[in-house]
């Protein structure tokens, strides 16, 4: 039986906050949120770290074996040389930035990635009765420490490519700050796309296949310079599925492959807008949530 849940805000403990709490300083509320997040996340971590050796072994193996994309790129470039002016170290840095962004997303938003289970099993109901916004509770209850391999891969590749790029003068001075910013933009864009995809689950329930389309395909595509794609596909990866906006666009300018200094600005404007739109979709979807029952 599917039970429509519309009046959550009217009945949930969070809706009952009094005037004194609403006027409480923002910093106090943020501090409380941080404390609750820490309590929930550390409980999740303790659960996952019960088998430490298993965790360390699997992370190491996943880091090595999951590097098939960069091995593929390496094998191709080793055989054929640079692609559209991008050398192997340039593409390695592009891959590293994109991978680190994905790694941060996986670390803090692991539950968004497996949101289908909440919809199919009706587990989202349990989030609705908590006195915090559902998204906050969802993210806090499952830190993706077991998916650390993505971040480790990105950092390892960056550690290999960075010094070579610095030695050739391709990156210097402030470029490191812009590269770190690109990682942050990438992570935010992964979050925005992941959140929007999860929100669609409020209507269609099963989103695993949709995630392949909105997350996996653009993630693979943006591991390569977007110059190799036809212009319409390039536009898709910087607008509709905008993961390329966080990595390719700024790196194109940083590594001197074209573009203008505005390429460093676009992600700073687009990322908050993408997150805002995704949050809007999430709120709309939440209002339409119909439980599958538990």
């Amino acid at each position: 039986m599917r039970v429509r849940v519309r009046e959550r805000r009217a009945t949930s403990p969070s809706a009952g906050v009094g005037a004194s709490e609403t006027t409480a300083p923002v910093l106090t509320r943020l501090g409380r949120a941080a404390r609750v997040y820490w309590i929930l996340a550390s409980a999740s971590l303790r659960g996952k770290m019960q088998y430490r050796l298993d965790f360390l072994g699997s992370t190491l193996i996943q880091t090595i074996m999951g590097a098939d994309t960069i091995l593929f790129i390496g094998a191709v470039l080793w055989r054929f040389g640079p692609v559209m002016g991008w050398s192997i170290t340039d593409i390695a840095m592009l891959y590293a930035v994109s991978r680190m962004g994905m790694g941060i997303y996986m670390l803090f938003c692991n539950e968004l990635d497996r949101f289908e289970i909440y919809m199919v099993n009706g587990d989202f109901d349990t989030l609705l009765i908590r006195p915090w916004p559902t998204l906050f509770t969802l993210l806090a209850r499952g830190v993706g420490i077991d998916r650390l391999a993505f971040l480790a891969q990105g950092m390892a590749v960056a550690a290999l490519a960075g010094p070579r790029l610095a030695a050739t003068g391709a990156i210097r001075g402030w470029d490191i700050v812009w590269l770190l910013a690109a990682v942050a933009w990438s992570a935010l864009l992964y979050f925005a796309v992941g959140l929007a995809t999860a929100a669609v689950g409020f209507w269609i329930v099963r989103i695993e296949e949709l995630q392949v389309f909105t997350m996996n395909a653009p993630s693979t595509a943006t591991a390569y310079p977007l110059d190799i794609y036809p212009s319409w596909l390039r536009r898709v990866f910087v607008t509709l599925l905008p993961l390329g906006l966080g990595s390719y666009v700024p790196l194109r300018f940083i590594l001197d492959k074209g573009g203008t200094a505005l390429d460093l600005l676009w992600p700073a404007l687009a990322c908050p807008a993408a997150v805002w739109a995704a949050l809007g979709l999430w709120k709309t979807g939440e209002a339409h949530y119909a439980s599958t029952g538990t």
Binding site: S58, I61, M65, A75, E209, F213, Y224, Y229, P230
Partner: protein, 273 residues
């Protein structure tokens, strides 16, 4: 062969056919989500087509012209839905072990290995027809698909694919059956997926790899899941020796899987109920 032998073979074939049919039909209910995935697969194929068009010299490399490499990618993106993608045998077995349902499955008057293999084979036939072929059609809008004229080429490629799918499912079965010893198979699944992608030649002809790695990949069972079927389809290899090597790998994996299954039976530890 005696009459009793004939009837038991007929019964086994019928059992395989029925189970495979169930696996096929079960997937029909997910057709909407499969359409979304098909679009994603076309995008994946397009990514690799664009990449290869960008890197391949005009003169090609080895026996591969620029045209043939793109065809190689299109064929593999289509057939991978039979030999690699969408396989759930690992998770099905692991889930059964976790919930304790495995006790019931092992108690059935059906050989567990045959039961799992046949069911998955049917599911993969569905996957090929309803997911792989549409991907091929989608990609043909960007790179018109090569269709061999020779019937022998078609037969050889289909036989190679059938063996490749069997090898892929058997490898998945081995990972799944490991859940009798360890509840967590995600890492092993990942290892298998990476090896199949890299050594199988899904996204690149194996000749691209450094020579020692190329030889290792060609001798591995993974090459029968993508590289060899595509080579036969594109009329770059003779089917005979490849099919023989594929059958040998299928036999080795079957013996290994059955042996491990019999050991797993002895150490079954039911956790659910």
């Amino acid at each position: 062969m005696s009459r009793g032998g004939c009837s038991s073979v007929r019964a086994a074939v019928r059992q395989w056919r029925v189970l495979a049919g169930k696996g096929f039909v079960q997937n029909l209910q997910y057709s909407a989500s499969h359409i979304v995935n098909t679009i994603a697969s076309v995008v994946f194929g397009l990514i690799y087509i664009c990449l290869w068009r960008a890197v391949t010299p005009e003169s090609g490399f080895g026996v591969y012209s620029s045209y043939l490499i793109v065809q190689y990618i299109c064929v593999n993106q289509t057939t991978a839905w039979f030999t690699q993608f969408g396989m759930k045998i690992r998770h099905r077995i692991a889930q059964s072990v976790r919930t304790g349902r495995i006790a019931v499955e092992l108690a059935r008057p059906v050989d567990f290995f045959c039961y799992r293999m046949a069911f998955e084979y049917g599911a993969q036939v569905y996957s090929f027809v309803f997911r792989g072929l549409p991907v091929g059609v989608g990609l043909s809008f960007f790179a018109p698909l090569h269709l061999p004229a020779s019937a022998m080429t078609w037969l050889g490629a289909l036989a190679s694919l059938a063996i490749g799918a069997y090898i892929g499912i058997a490898l998945g079965y081995l990972v799944g059956i490991s859940s009798f010893w360890t509840n967590e198979i995600r890492t092993l699944s990942w290892v298998l997926f990476s090896l199949a992608m890299f050594l199988g030649g899904l996204s690149m002809p194996l000749e691209v790899l450094p020579r020692p790695l190329e030889l290792l990949a060609k001798a591995s069972p993974f090459a029968h899941m993508s590289y060899y079927p595509a080579r036969i389809y594109l009329e770059l290899s003779e089917p005979g020796p490849i099919l023989a090597a594929g059958l040998a790998w299928a036999a080795i994996l079957t013996v290994a899987a059955r042996h491990i299954t019999s050991r797993a039976r002895r150490r079954l530890e039911v956790q659910g109920g």
